[in-house]
């Protein structure tokens, strides 16, 4: 009888502590910084020349893959931060057409507004710049646990498994070139403006402009970076009604336009809510100022003290 009463007490105290903790605010939405920087990748303008892949390797000192003449990476990896992939079907003769067509897509870090990798990292090696929103990696802090690799829903951070001194590799939007007044190498070299660098707010305006134009008509596309003055005349694409990255897991700073559905381009369908927000809300509710754990510890301590003292006396 005594035991049962004690068990109830312990459970009661635990629930009480949990109730106190439960009143903690769930972690709110992370708004995008007004000065956030990002990329617009418009698959309908991409010609698949891979200049961005080569430029990215040079700008980031990444090793060559493939033979001596050509860069031939097949996926992003510990050696490659950015790659252009192709969708092909049937005769693959018509650009941006689903049957008998082909289409291009870019794979690189999406620079999420609420990144899973940053939430996962136990040692602050992954951080999100409060101003530019660029998701940066600091090898000096990293312990190589690969929780970021596992957490990213886009499969972006990669790990060098083949060395005793491994690290994570991911696109950091060429943040190291910005001090020289330069910007993302992939956008800088893109001949058609398919990859465009700029403030996310400006990129979104450009997306709205392109989607409002009549498909098939000619227009002037900004090239390199928005506001850089360079431009290129091209044909407006037949866009699918979906801007990839606008809502996906709370939004991303890299946005994609496409002429074919994104599912065909290995762009996974994702919910609007950031998994980081759900996970952190639950963690914060349980560990809110450690009130619940300390309360529980107090109850356990008192019971253990009483019971062990009794044991000594007998």
């Amino acid at each position: 009888m005594m035991d049962r009463r004690k068990l109830l007490k312990v459970i009661g105290a635990g629930c009480g502590a949990a109730a106190v903790a439960g009143t903690a605010e769930a972690r709110g939405l992370r708004p995008m910084s007004p000065k956030a920087l990002g990329l617009l990748y418009d698959g309908t303008q991409c010609v698949g020349c891979n200049a961005c892949v080569v430029a990215c390797k040079e700008a980031n000192n990444m090793p060559r893959e493939g033979d001596a003449m050509y860069e031939k990476p097949v996926d992003i990896s510990g050696k490659t931060l950015n790659i252009i992939k192709a969708y092909r079907s049937g005769t693959a003769t018509h650009k941006d057409q689903v049957p008998d067509g082909y289409a291009f897509t870019k794979m690189s870090c999406m620079h999420c507004v609420d990144p899973s990798c940053v939430s996962a990292c136990p040692v602050s090696a992954m951080t999100k710049d409060p101003e530019t929103g660029i998701v940066k990696y600091n090898v000096e802090a990293c312990i190589g646990c690969r929780y970021c690799v596992a957490a990213c829903p886009f499969g972006v951070p990669r790990f060098t498994f083949d060395t005793p001194d491994p690290k994570i590799s991911k696109c950091q939007l060429c943040v190291h070139r910005m001090v020289e007044g330069r910007y993302a190498a992939c956008a800088e070299v893109c001949p058609t403006g398919a990859t465009l660098f700029g403030p996310v707010a400006e990129l979104k305006k450009e997306i709205a402009r392109r989607r409002a134009l009549r498909p098939g008509t000619k227009t002037i596309f900004p090239r390199g970076r928005i506001g850089g003055g360079d431009s290129y005349e091209g044909v407006v694409g037949h866009y699918v009604d979906h801007v990839y990255g606008e809502r996906e897991i709370g939004g991303t700073q890299v946005l994609h336009l496409s002429g074919v559905p994104f599912e065909l381009l290995d762009k996974p369908p994702l919910p609007d809510v950031a998994p980081a927000r759900i996970s952190e809300s639950i963690q914060h509710a349980i560990y809110n100022h450690l009130i619940a754990p300390l309360g529980f510890l107090g109850v356990l301590g008192v019971l253990a003290w009483r019971n062990m003292r009794k044991g000594d006396e007998s």
Binding site: P122, G144, I282, L303
Partner: protein
Amino acid sequence: MSLHAETPAPLGGKLNTPLTRVLAGFVLILVAILAVRFVRGLGAVSNMNDGYPWGIWIAWDVVIGSALGASGFTVAFATYILNRGKYHPIVRPAMLTALFGYMMAGASVFFDIGRYWDFWHIFTPKYMQVSSVLFEVAICIMSYTAVLAIEASPMVLERLGFHKVRARLEKVLFFFIALGVLLPTMHQSSLGSMLMVFGPQVDPLYQTRLLPLLFLSSTIGMGLAAVVVEGSLTALALRRPFERELLGGLAKVGQGMAVLFLILRFADLGARGMFPRLLEPRLLTLMFWIEIALFAAPVVLLLGKHALRPSRIFVASALLALAGILYRIDAYLISYNTGAGWKYFPSMGELLVTIGLIAFEILLFIIAIKVLPVLPARREDHHE
């Protein structure tokens, strides 16, 4: 039964036996494989890849190993918090199993992380990232291993004859007992929460906000089951009587935990409208039903009048441990899908390292019961 018979004493006997030699052999293989890992990198010995960056060194050694190590906190809870004195004789073996289990989990993390020389970053204010579930798990597992060492230290102090230190330590032991119950409830539930940030990469059958509760309830069951299995095997090996009332009592609590787990699991799946998806013909649903059968089996086995037969207690507990193991493998590996084209099955090197760790744990336990006062003394032992 006199008090004297209950006092723990070292078993004595030879340490160099065929069994310990085989176990030591597996440990040597582990050392050889780890040497390659440290010289040439993780890829040289493991099949881990960017699609499955965590393999069995995390899913088995850490997640499952520590859950089986819940033997320590569940028995401590029953004995000291609920004041069930009858469990006293199994406190020491349970604590020791937990200590060795957690030490192996810690060792596994050390060689699994790529930049192990910087592992201390996690404990320093400069680097620590408190919103990371892994941060909480790491801090908690590290502190709990220390707590387990303190809880186990009276055995060593007793053996060395440091009775004064021991008496002083026992005055404050209540605090470490309390801490030793709190910490595992925290990190064992967090080992479930750790999957939440994976979002849609974990199949909706397994991705749920109840992960912390599902992990905690199954952990308690696994910890108790581990005590019963270990107690049964020890009794068998030492030709001692099966502690039916004791182990049966623990198995019954384990049964309760299995019921709780099943209720939580199905209530959650139902609330999220997942019932139709449970019949989809694919590997994960098959694994799910095997897992559910394994949780349900001990519940059924321990019903009725034959429930307290030693064989039933043993089989029910072994199945419960297996259920928890499979639930963790499913949640961490089978239900995890990071996109097309990625495959993972542990390499021979990974398997041998995990086997080596298990062998090391058993070896440490055998040595400990022979040289330290772990198990209750029995009169017939003195003849040996």
